[in-house]
Amino acid sequence: MAIADDVLVIGGGIAGATAALAAAEEGVDVRLVTHKQSTLRNASGLIDVLGYTHEGEGPIVDPFERLEELPKGHPYERVGTEAVRDALSFFDEVAGDAYAGDHTDSNALVPTHGGTVKPTARYPISTAAGLASVAEDTLLVGFETLTDFEAPLAAAHLEAAGAPFSARGVTLRFPGIVRDDAKLTRYAHLLDHEEPVSTGSGERSARQALAATVRPHLEGESRVGFPALLGDEHAAEVRADLAESLGVDVFEVPMGPPSLPGMRLEDLLYGALEDAGVRVTSGVPVVDYETDDGAIDHVLVDRHGQEIPHEASQYVLATGGLVGKGVRSERERVFEPIFDCYVPHADDRYDWFVDDVFGEQPYARFGVVPDRELRPLDVDEEPEFSNLRAAGAVLGGYDYAAEKSGAGVSLATGYVAGGRAGTEASR
């Protein structure tokens, strides 16, 4: 007897988690298997839907007004605008107070750690007070030992970007950090647990010490932005304490890896999976599969060197793109490694890229080609398998980095693929 579920989701990022949650809504048994650590720790935690058109026009104020003009084959075109809306509402329900932006269809402009601004549809509550579209003077605080956020430079950059407020940056020493190469999680941990730290005026709690370090630098600004390290498990409490001590709003600027907002989003999704009764097995790659009459009969999952069959009536492939290794390449080919679904690409690998690093990069669009049910199609445009759907970055035909559409596509396609799989399985 194989391990058997109604729906098996392969991949544990935003797309996989959303697919599993949407399938579980249909009242069926759902299992999610993941291989490696999800790429969410690389992600900013922002939920982008569409910031720029496929032709580079933007920043877009209302993404929903522009979805219709996307080209045929784009994942949003496959699922339709209504599904994108539904998926976003679904996310809003899952996220609850942890995210903001659901009061409007308009994108927000959020400051980035590089000092630019970027359009996004939903944003972690920790970034809400920092919107660049709000005209409030801003103090950015960076730390000497944190090399990827240079606050004075980011502030000057915001002004160069035309932000409607004055921005200033200061670089301070983070109280309690003694090692130059302390991990970001160390900063968060200090604040989460209110560890005592020694300061010039004796021992204080970490949050008090940080507030005391920042306070003398405030010059009438109404909000203070920190790199995204303000706590992990108790982030809301940390922010509230700092805001109260400083008497101004406090926000986080999303950062690159390792990204706490990305990890908090991961925690949020996995909490929801647990609540929904989805069985999650981590650290296990799917290594092979067997078919029966054009459908996947079961897959083989590698558990400590043993190949264990996992059976389901419906499967969702949400293994990610090139970064998550759901799409892989060798010198001569680009391929989807589990089911070998068709991935279109030029024969010559020198045609996989263009010379301008931010040009229209063919490699950024690598992925499987889905029908409107999100079933991957073979080279003859027939579904590869009747019971396999794909979601998220494993899909091709769009450049999430240029469009700022990564999380939105993962939500929308995860929601549709998971929902359909759940419906089919419950029949």
Binding site: G162, D181, D249, A402
Partner: protein, 570 residues
């Protein structure tokens, strides 16, 4: 007013610097001019193999003998630039037994220490060799740092009174009738602590004798005085792996062929190479088949190369030459021997000789022979001492490191900060300020980046070359922006932004020859970090047309915190 010198050497590669050292040690007044920095030509773009001579033991025994002699001399005089890895000539089942025997006999004929290892013994030395490797010949090949060797020669020449002028391009040969008596150079500025002449100015340098040691560029120099130097530049690719898969030099034991050598260097391994004639040594195609061939062919010897991660590839040009009339089609058949072309004998034009062909391992012997020729021309009787006198740095490494600094050169082969910084390690790294790591892949700290910025200004590519920051696995995806952060506030926001764009674009260019597998995944991650997370591809600060901030989400006023309401925002 022309500057007058006794001997003028053109070209700051290993040959030119070797000649300058040799002649200066013999008491001659020497000036060397170089278009760019030292090593900018072929010397800095090779695989850094110190030949045992085994490679030529069948086809060209004279070269083989010269190689093993020079190999031993260099270990003596330049031990600090050499890693004696040892080398293997590896035979696969399909490789000819007769050739293996000839190779072994050839080595013995040429006094190259050579020992036969069984396949199993060879795999004990190099565990990643293919299982079916039949046997191997062990020879004293090594890895050599061409950057430091070249600079060591240059600073020793200076110690003996030579003038070394880098960033001084020859724009004309001064010829009167049938006599060449000097050159005109155009000055430019460069990195390092040297004082260069004012950029854009020209200077005439006259000399009793001129040596054209410009290698692949010798034809271009000759043409300035209507002399025909039939140099046939030939390009070769070198592919860099992310780790050192082998600890000894691995050669394929078969007659000439492309893609038949792997040279370990510090933490990497370099695969080489191809051999294709090009018309212009400054402008030639870098092609896909060359990279493919390195991996396909060399993985027959070391199978894990097929799966291993390639970081990037670079190309160099050999200064091949063949005397008129031979008409060899295939550049691999052109001799690796060097030629001294005395233009008086050849063309009836006195005052200059050109030196072409040859190979890096024997640069010193070449320099000796040319110096003998120059001395003969000038009636000087002093003899050569370069084989006995150790190069600067042999006793005290700091001397050489100061020289590297002076020329603003960093050996990309030297991986550790201490090696890169040499005598200045304490001065640079001994800071009381926080000194976090900026580049994780290569372990480069803030102090080192700041030191490089103080010398190179806002040019982050120059900072990269000095420090190796952004040259590891991630190819700058994670650290380019952090490097740019270090420019601020000394440089303003706009300068910093432009410097970052330039560095990021440059890193991308280098990655393109390695874009598959892990490195393509890395490229996508880098793209996502810069475009998705930072939105650098649509940075409103760099794009024309402002953003209408007021049209965007201004927050949910009903959900705002008490302090937000108090501040009356919105």
């Amino acid at each position: 007013m022309a500057y007058d010198t006794e001997v003028l050497v053109l070209g700051g590669g290993s040959t030119g610097c070797g000649i300058a050292r040799d002649l200066a040690m013999r008491g001659l007044e020497v000036t060397l001019v170089e278009r760019g920095n030292l090593t900018d030509g072929t010397t800095g773009r090779m695989h850094g193999l110190l030949h045992s001579g085994g490679r030529y033991a069948v086809s060209d025994q004279a070269s083989a003998v010269e190689c093993i002699e020079e190999n031993e001399i260099l270990r003596d005089i330049a031990g600090h630039c050499v890693e004696m890895t040892g080398g293997l000539f590896v035979q696969r089942p399909e490789d000819d037994d007769d050739y293996f025997r000839e190779k072994l006999e050839g080595c013995r004929d040429c006094d190259i220490p050579a020992k036969v290892l069984s396949g199993r013994e060879a795999r004990e030395v190099e565990p990643y060799l293919a299982k079916d490797v039949k046997r191997a010949i062990q020879v004293p090949d090594g890895a050599i740092d061409p950057f430091r060797l070249c600079v060591a020669n240059a600073i020793d020449a200076e110690r003996h009174g030579a003038r070394i002028e880098t960033h001084a391009e020859v724009v004309d040969l001064l010829r009167e009738g049938d006599d060449i008596h000097g050159v005109t150079v155009r000055h430019d500025s460069g990195p390092g602590k040297r004082t260069h002449k004012t950029p854009g100015t020209t200077e005439d340098i006259t000399a009793e004798y001129v040596v054209n040691a410009t290698g692949a560029w010798a034809g271009q120099i000759g043409a300035m005085a209507d002399l025909d130097v039939e140099v046939r530049p030939s390009k070769g690719v070198m592919t860099i792996m992310n780790v050192r898969q082998v600890d000894t030099v691995i050669n394929r034991c078969r007659p000439k062929g492309d893609a038949d050598i792997i040279v370990p260097h510090e933490t990497t391994a370099i695969l080489g190479t191809t051999d294709e004639e090009v018309s212009d040594p400054d402008d030639y195609p870098e092609e896909r088949w060359e990279v493919d061939m390195m991996i396909d062919t060399l993985s027959e010897l070391v199978p894990i190369l097929e799966e291993a991660r390639t970081i990037r590839s670079f190309w160099g040009v050999r200064p091949l030459y063949e005397p008129p009339g031979r008409g060899t089609k295939d550049p691999t058949d052109i001799t690796r021997d060097f030629f001294l072309l005395d233009h008086e004998d050849r063309d009836g034009v006195s005052g200059m000789s050109s030196i072409v062909g040859g190979k890096f391992t024997t640069y010193r012997a070449m320099a000796e022979e040319i110096s003998n020729h120059v001395c003969e021309q000038l009636g000087v009787r002093a003899s050569c001492a370069t084989a006995e006198e150790a190069l600067p740095g042999s006793e005290n490494l700091a001397v050489l490191e100061e020289g590297m600094d002076d020329f603003g050169l960093r050996s990309p082969v030297a991986r550790r900060s201490k090696q890169r910084l040499g005598s200045r390690s304490q001065e640079v790294l001994g800071t009381d300020e926080p000194n976090p790591v900026i580049c994780q892949c290569e372990g480069v700290t803030r102090a080192e980046i700041q030191d490089a910025i103080s010398q190179s200004g806002s040019d982050l590519n120059a900072v990269r070359i000095r420090t190796r920051a952004s040259m590891g696995n991630c190819q700058g995806g994670f650290c380019c922006a952090n490097m740019a952060n270090e420019l601020h506030p000394e440089y303003d926001e706009e300068t910093t932004r432009e410097a970052l764009d330039e560095l990021f674009q440059e890193r991308w260019k280098g990655e393109r020859h390695a874009l598959w597998g892990e490195q393509l995944s890395q490229a996508m991650l880098n793209y996502a970090l810069h475009a998705t997370t930072m939105n650098r591809d649509n940075d409103p600060a760099s794009r024309t047309g402002g953003v209408d901030y007021g049209a965007f989400d201004s927050g949910d006023s009903s959900a705002r915190t008490p302090s937000q309401r108090r501040s009356g925002g919105d």
